[in-house]
Subunit: 276 residues, 2 copies
């Protein structure tokens, strides 16, 4: 048997109970509405199930896609429980009319997490970086979490909470040069793993980060299946996604429009560095 | 002057007011928290502003990333207004603990839209496809919207509302073969534009679709800048995002786990076809 044959045989063995369960359920009427029933995660073979506790930390004016991208992937970890965590259960305004609803608070969030994730933003992230309750929560859960992760300028927030000292890390390209002020080792890559820290570059890098994390939490075939469900085979219609590929005037405009954020973040990074 | 010089000069001219405004505002203290102020969209040059009315239609158990991916891009259309629209203002459970909050109802949503967008899902989408109020809303706004768009199995919902008859369209790979039953012309591409219809493939294709739409709503440099803000230069760590690239057992498992959804969607597609 080749390795591929062996893997196929193993997968087909895994598939057997799902096939049986599906055949048994095939005659059931399709549900009429309301609660989703019979979602495919119910049929995932037991060997692909887990019981991770995952906390996605949100705050006012967070960039929603930073965390909703990863949520797609992490939410499909059959058996895991996911919490959206904030300072209270009040609705959290993210951006442009999108409201996120916490399901746990800093107090009620499980103490021992498998995955702690946060995202970034601009002015909202600076505010979060000044919030003692947020920093205390991140420092506490981050001290025990199996994986401490961020997307975008969320890594500056992890840095401010003291969680990146001595770790290789990345961030949104705007924030990446500031990582060293938080004692981190700046890496110009899209997704950076260093021991149990995993940081992603800007916004859309959360999809790559989450898929990479899935590979570490489940068999690779499971991660491949979720990638297939997401049809994650991107074909951006433009090629301007990094400072290196964007036309110079576009990069200049982007820097100009975000200058007050970078200024604010730089001040906080320097203040942090002064205390190191 | 070369074309590139000309474009650079034009962009620098656009940049001038933003630079001036930024210099004037540079001494303002950074806001302490609460409401986001001074977000970069305020500083976008007037020539890059618009006044589009955009409706993102949500429903119980929608796949959140289908619409939150596009929302990142569309939300940055300076001057545009974005509505999350549902049957009422009640909280909408999407998936795995994520709650979305409508900002408008089928009744209060603007009548004449620039962009109508919906996303997909599995059992939730089938329920939406059976909801007369949803179908009436889509048919009404879709009859006048400048752009009628969907991500993932959202195209089946557009199809059920009669909006894809005679149009080239795509869908999640699971739903793509059903498009013809709704009178559409199935196209095996990630993003398909046909006149004012724009449909995307599964879930993550919403990012590509939205960026392509941005190009049609604003100068290309604006779309490039938003791509740069999103750092959208994806590097998936696995290569299993399509039925063609996924390992055969992974594809088999994916089909098995979603068989009841495909069965339900096929029945609806056949019923639709029978009425054509």
């Amino acid at each position: 048997m080749t390795d591929i044959d062996r893997r196929t045989a193993a997968m087909m063995a895994l598939l057997a109970p799902a096939l049986a369960a599906s055949a048994a359920g095939a005659q059931q009427p399709t549900p009429k509405g309301g609660k989703a029933t019979g979602t495919y995660m119910d049929k995932v073979p037991p060997a692909w199930k887990g019981n991770e506790k995952i906390a996605i930390v949100i705050y006012d004016h967070i960039t929603a896609l930073d965390v909703i991208g990863p949520h797609y992937f992490l939410g499909r970890l059959a058996g895991a429980e996911i919490h959206f965590v904030a300072d209270s259960l009040r609705p959290i305004p993210s951006e442009h009319g999108l409201i996120l609803t916490p399901t746990a608070t800093f107090e009620t969030c499980p103490k021992d997490l498998d995955v702690l994730l946060t995202g970034g933003g601009t002015s909202g992230t600076l505010t979060a970086m000044r919030d003692p309750a947020m920093l205390a929560f991140l420092a506490d859960r981050g001290s025990r979490a199996k994986w401490v992760t961020s997307v975008c300028t969320g890594s500056l927030l992890l840095g401010q909470a003291g969680l990146l000292k001595g770790y290789r890390a990345t961030s949104h390209w705007l924030g990446r040069p500031l990582l060293k002020d938080f004692g981190a080792i700046e890496v110009d890559e899209r997704v950076v793993f260093d021991r149990n820290r995993a940081t992603g570059a800007g916004v859309s890098a959360g999809l790559d980060l989450a898929l990479a994390l899935l590979q570490r939490l489940r068999p690779v075939e499971f991660a491949q299946m979720i990638q297939l469900f997401a049809e994650y085979a991107p074909v951006p219609p433009l090629h301007s996604g990094t400072p290196e590929t964007a036309p110079a005037p576009v990069l200049a405009m982007a820097r100009e429009l975000t200058s007050s954020f970078v200024e604010g973040a730089s001040q906080m990074a320097q203040a942090y560095r002064a205390k190191l």
